[in-house]
């Protein structure tokens, strides 16, 4: 008879991915980095990358252990066009979640989405 293993299939309550906290992280960073920034096609790719990294670092430090984080940053120029973004995830809805925040100024919009997926 093989002994069955035990698994943590639910995160600790404190360590559960809390979208509100993460959203605050995102908001903080994005406000800090993007306020007053004009859209510049040369700079934006680097900017998105660094934004994503800093958001990821910040969220990692927020104590969501055992979470795999996916950070998606989209920056686009605002010229009156319509934009629609949506996402769909295949996950365990009990543990996994996401947080997103939108920043807009008169020259650009920035959407940051953080998906947290739990490691069992």
């Amino acid at each position: 008879m093989e002994e069955s293993d035990t698994y943590h299939i639910r995160p600790n309550h404190q360590q559960k991915f809390r979208p509100a906290v993460v959203k605050e992280c995102i908001r903080e960073i994005v406000r800090e980095r993007l306020s007053g920034v004009q859209y510049n096609p040369e700079e934006v790719p680097e900017l998105t990358r660094s934004l994503a990294d800093s958001v990821k670092d910040k969220v990692k430090n927020s104590g969501f252990d055992k979470y795999k984080l996916v950070v998606q940053v989209v920056i686009g120029e605002q010229r009156g066009q319509g934009v629609k973004m949506s996402s769909r995830c295949f996950w365990d809805a009990d543990t996994d979640s996401y947080a997103e925040d939108v920043f807009m100024n008169d020259s650009l919009f920035c959407v940051v989405a953080v998906f947290g997926s739990y490691y069992y």
Binding site: V74, S87, R88, C89, D92
Partner: protein, 1062 residues
């Protein structure tokens, strides 16, 4: 979906267990799996079932057809063979189509994997596997039915099979030899053998499966084997027949398939497709098995296939396929002659078994995967299948030519392939070592689901490697372990976890800005300024509909000060206010003014009337009274005064026109209840028609006097020894009023009475005289008395009152006016009438009898003196004069002062028992006073001398003097009334020995008389008021001779008289 999953999970095997299990009992396990698969299929859905049913029907149909064909089959064998070939080619074509599809799929698989979209990929591969399963199962079922059919029909085949089974051991050895041969690199040979064997294996594979089932299901077959042994002689023929039959069977199948395919175009696609797919799957399955065999036989190929380039793979596969086709073709041609092949096929069988083991492993794995992944994506599969089918349909017409062309080219191609292979071998040599490492690393990365495929490939690669790579093997082992662990973990976890699709999160929804907004945003604020505002806010207007009230000032005048009665619009506001305040002030004074003015008016009117009357009277009565200048009669014919005797008359010394008359109680009974009361009437002599006030007291009143100054109070001493006072200012409404005839009379009760209240300090005998103690002020004020003296009214009340009773007790009272009357009656001031404001306070008492006792020696003889009259010296209130019953006048002082003459006596020395009836001080010479006595003698005394200045005896003929008074206007004139009603008028200037006029009023007895008169400059009058017994009061005005005098001459006379006397 959920239940499906759960169930399948429970059904699943762990890979390790499974493998072990499989190894132990290959066949049983295989069977079990198949059964499992079958069950699962059942659960999987209805469509599958329908498919089965259809197939059954078809098979039945086929059976019939088969029978027919069998009857005709042998006759048409040659034709059939031709047919068969055609069919075969068709079949091959179909196979090729399938193959191509497969390769396409695989390509896609590779591509997809490159892009990391494992999900879809997995799905497809899985689907393939599933299809394979299904197809196998169906196939088996077909076969079973056929088997049964066959079993009934011919035993040969079974015998043959059993024989073959016996041969297996032998053939295994041979297989080893073959492998060695293959290793040598005899490619040509190898190829052929592969082809042949492949074809045979294909059959055998099927057969073996059948056997499986047979053995499993029917035990009796084993017993039959023995018989079959016996029949081994006939083996060749039978085998041939068997093969023929098999050929036929295959042909039939192909026909059926062909039919199906054709039908597929017309009939319901779905069902057909699925069938077709099954069929195709079957082919694929075969092909796979073939390929696997081939791969095992040819490690180089394997290697080649493993190359990264999907193109290569594809090509290789195509080669293989061609080879396969060729092989089959050949096989069919040479099957009868090829006995040797038969044996080899049996060896292939053993191979196949190995392969099956592998497959089983794979299947086991697949089962896992299928369990959790097929559920969600079934719809997807169908879609995909449809699309693939469509593709196939399109491509089908192309197949035949392509297939034939390839057949022709095969020889050339083979050479090419060989060349390529060689090159690839060399490459693989190089890669070989790195490969294993890569593979392990890849294994770790990749998901267990599809890493299985690569694993398989790798394992194959390693198995067929030229050299034994232990390191790689170990690594593989390790990685396998890891993978299995992960797999196990994931399996267990997935049982616990529900994965599902989240909602579609809308991350950003930014609507497009419309053109106008865009324009405004860009240019909206440029060059704009506010120039004008249209609204006119400050220009407001207000309107009121109500009219303002018109106001105008009017005034009225009272008392009239101006000519106009009212109205003065030009009057300034200040003046108006001032006037108003003045008016207010005046209104207070108005009452007092009216009060006094009305009196004046009444007096004037009465005077006017009385003058006319008196003139008439004078004409009639002029003869009766010699001294009279005219007379006026007061109207005393009042009901309550009827038949009352007037006891006394008294004039106020200040208000000389005010007189009071005391009416004694009547003895005659009358209707009025006031009979027992004494009534005092206050008269204004100028208003003779009626008395001003009527005062009432219950007992007999002995004496009366007015308050000093203005007449406001009336004091009276009664026979019962009390002193009473009336306050004339009291409202008439506070007193009892009685309506008599057409007139209403108010009878005033005394305001204050000392009756029982002051019994101790009061008088114990009847009061004979009340007199106001004259003050210095009062004396000064005598000269001019204002009519409207409100100040004096209030201040004038601070005076003393003296009362003397018969026993000689002289009481002094202080008259006190209370600031406010108490309507309810005062609890402390018991003698005070409710609402009364004036009361008497006893201040001191002097026993006048004591001083009287110290009288001269003659007084003692005659007995005790009776005090009869009290008079005060008008200039000094400390000196009082009491008339006694001995003809003497006692001079007393209140504060122990010594006055020189203690008594004023007759000129005769001896004392006579004569009452002093009257004492009167001269208004012009205050130190001179007249004393009238009961014996008719009259004396004129000076205050400072005991002896009289003058003494007149028998002037009244012995009649007692009733009353004696100085005239008010002349200093030397005085009147004397005696008891015989004779009125004597003396004028000392004319005659100092006898009266100038003696008038006898016999008609109506005169009870009392009082002189009145005013020494005014223009209107000097004087007269005498006579009270008659009948109750009439008659006012007689003196003639001018008696009224107007030269005062200096008179005073000179009086001076001379006093100096002459002493």
């Amino acid at each position: 979906m959920y239940t499906d999953k759960k169930i399948t999970k429970e059904d699943t095997w762990r890979p390790a267990d499974l493998r072990r299990h499989i190894r132990e009992e290959e066949r049983g396990g295989d069977d079990a799996r198949r059964r499992d698969g079958y069950d699962r299929r059942y659960r999987g859905g209805e469509s599958a079932e329908r498919r089965h049913r259809d197939q059954e029907k078809e098979s039945r149909r086929e059976k019939d057809r088969l029978r027919e064909r069998e009857s005709t089959g042998r006759e048409r064998r040659d034709e059939g063979r031709r047919d068969r070939r055609k069919e075969g080619s068709q079949d091959r074509r179909a196979e090729r189509g399938n193959e191509r599809e497969k390769t396409r799929e695989r390509e896609r698989f590779v591509d997809v994997r490159k892009y990391g979209d494992d999900y879809r990929e997995n799905k497809e591969t899985r689907r393939d596997l599933e299809e394979k399963h299904d197809r196998e199962r169906d196939k088996e079922r077909h076969r079973d039915k056929e088997k049964e059919r066959v079993r009934d029909g011919d035993r040969h085949r079974e015998e043959d099979r059993s024989k073959r089974r016996d041969d297996i051991n032998k053939e295994r050895k041979r297989e080893e030899q073959d492998r060695e041969l293959r290793n040598d690199g005899e490619r040509r040979r190898h190829k052929e053998s592969r082809e042949g064997r492949g074809a045979q294996i294909e059959q055998h594979h099927r057969e073996e499966k059948d056997q499986h089932r047979e053995r499993h299901q029917n035990e009796y077959e084993d017993t039959r084997n023995a018989k079959e042994e016996r029949q081994r002689d006939m083996k060749h023929l039978e085998q041939k027949g068997d093969r023929e039959y098999k050929e036929e069977h295959r042909k039939r199948k192909e026909e059926r398939e062909q039919r199906h395919r054709e039908r597929g175009h017309h009939e319901e696609k779905q069902k057909h497709d699925s069938e077709y797919r099954e069929h195709r799957g079957e082919e694929i399955r075969h092909h796979r098995a073939d390929r696997e065999l081939a791969e095992r036989d040819r490690p180089k190929d394997r290697r080649y296939k493993e190359g990264e380039d999907p193109e290569n793979k594809h090509r290789e596969r195509r080669h293989k396929h061609e080879a396969d086709v060729e092989r089959k073709h050949k096989e069919r041609k040479h099957r009868e002659e090829d006995d040797h092949r038969d044996k080899r096929s049996s060896s292939g069988k053993s191979h196949e078994r190995n392969v099956q083991v592998d497959n089983d492993e794979d299947l086991a794995d697949q089962d896992y995967e299928d369990d959790f992944e097929k559920m969600d994506y079934e719809e997807d599969f169908e879609e995909l299948n449809e699309s693939t089918n469509e593709d196939e349909d399109e491509k089908e017409p192309l197949h035949p030519q392509a297939g034939e062309a390839k057949e022709e080219l095969s020889a050339q191609r083979r050479k090419e392939i060989e060349a390529i292979r060689r090159a690839m071998d060399e490459e693989n040599e190089r890669i070989g070592t790195t490969k294993s490492r890569q593979s392990t690393s890849r294994e770790e990365e990749e998901r267990p689901k599809w890493s299985r495929d690569t694993e398989k490939i790798q394992s194959r690669a390693s198995q067929r490697g030229k050299f034994i790579d232990f390191v790689a093997a170990k690594q593989r082992e390790v990685s396998k372990k890891v993978a299995s662990k992960q797999k196990k973990r994931s399996t267990e976890l997935l049982r616990l976890i529900d994965l599902d699709f989240s909602m579609t999160f809308s991350l950003l929804d930014l609507p497009p800005v419309n053109e106008y907004d865009m324009y405004i945003r860009n240019f909206g604020n440029a060059n704009t300024k506010q120039a004008y505002v249209q609204c006119n806010e400050d220009n407001t207007d207000r309107d009121i509909q109500t009219e303002e009230i018109e106001m105008s000032e009017k005034w009225t005048q009272h008392p009239p000060e101006r000519s106009g009665a009212c109205g003065d619009p030009n009057l300034s506001k200040e003046a108006r206010d001032k006037q108003r305040s003045e008016m207010n002030y005046d209104s207070q004074r108005l009452a007092s003014f009216l009060r006094s003015a009305s009196q004046v008016m009444v007096v004037l009117l009465e005077e006017d009337q009385a003058e006319r009357k008196s003139l008439e009277k004078l004409s009639t009565q002029s003869d009766t009274l010699s001294f009279s200048d005219g007379s006026l009669q007061l109207i005393t014919e009042l009901p309550f005064l009827y038949d009352r005797q007037i006891s006394m008359l008294h004039f106020s010394q200040v208000q000389k026109h005010t007189m009071l008359s005391v009416h004694m109680p009547t003895t005659k009974p009358s209707a009025k209840h006031l009979d027992s009361c004494t009534i005092i009437c206050i008269w204004n002599i100028w208003e003779p028609s009626r008395p001003q006030k009527i005062l009432v007291y219950e007992s007999e009143i002995q004496c009366c006097c007015f308050s000093p100054g203005k007449v406001t109070l009336v004091f009276a001493g009664t026979s019962v020894g009390s002193v009473v006072l009336w306050d004339l200012r009291e409202q008439s409404s506070n007193h009892y009023s009685l309506k008599m005839g057409e007139e209403e009379w108010t009878f005033r009760q005394p305001t204050f009475s000392t009756d029982a209240v002051l019994a101790a300090s009061g008088h114990l005998s009847s009061v004979t005289s009340v007199e106001v103690v004259p003050s210095a002020l009062a004396g000064e004020l005598r000269a001019d008395v204002p009519l409207l003296a409100s100040e004096e009214e209030s201040s004038g009340l601070s005076f003393q009152l003296a009362s003397l009773d018969e026993s000689g007790v002289l009481n002094f009272w202080v008259v006190v006016e209370l600031p406010k009357g108490n309507e309810a009656g005062s609890p402390t001031d018991l003698g005070l009438r409710p609402g009364g404001k004036v009361k008497l306070l006893h201040s001191s008492s002097v026993l006048a009898a004591e001083s009287l006792r110290g009288s001269p020696r003659d007084v003692v003889k005659t007995g005790p003196l009776h005090a009869l009259l009290l008079k005060f010296l008008p200039t000094d209130s400390n000196h009082f004069f009491i008339g006694t019953n001995m003809g003497l006048v006692h001079h007393g002082t209140s504060h122990g002062l010594k006055a020189p003459p203690k008594f004023y006596r007759f000129q005769e020395v001896e004392v006579q028992p004569v009452d002093v009836t009257s004492i009167h001080f001269s208004p012009f010479r205050p130190h001179l006073f007249l004393v009238g006595c009961g014996n008719g003698s009259i004396r004129l005394h000076a205050v400072s001398h005991e002896q009289p200045v003058a003494q007149w005896k028998n002037s009244t003929a012995g009649e007692p003097v009733v009353s004696l008074q100085w005239a008010q206007t002349r200093a030397t004139v005085f009147c004397v009334l005696d008891a015989a009603c004779n009125l004597h008028i003396w004028d000392l200037l004319k005659d100092d020995t006898q009266p100038v006029v003696t008038e006898r009023m016999s008609a109506d007895r005169v009870t009392d008389m009082a002189l009145f008169g005013q020494s005014g400059k223009q209107n000097t009058y004087s007269g005498v008021a006579l009270a008659h017994e009948s109750g009439k009061i008659e006012m007689q005005y003196f003639k001018r001779s008696l009224t107007v005098s030269s005062t200096a001459e008179e005073e000179k006379l009086l001076e001379r008289m006093t100096t002459e006397a002493f």
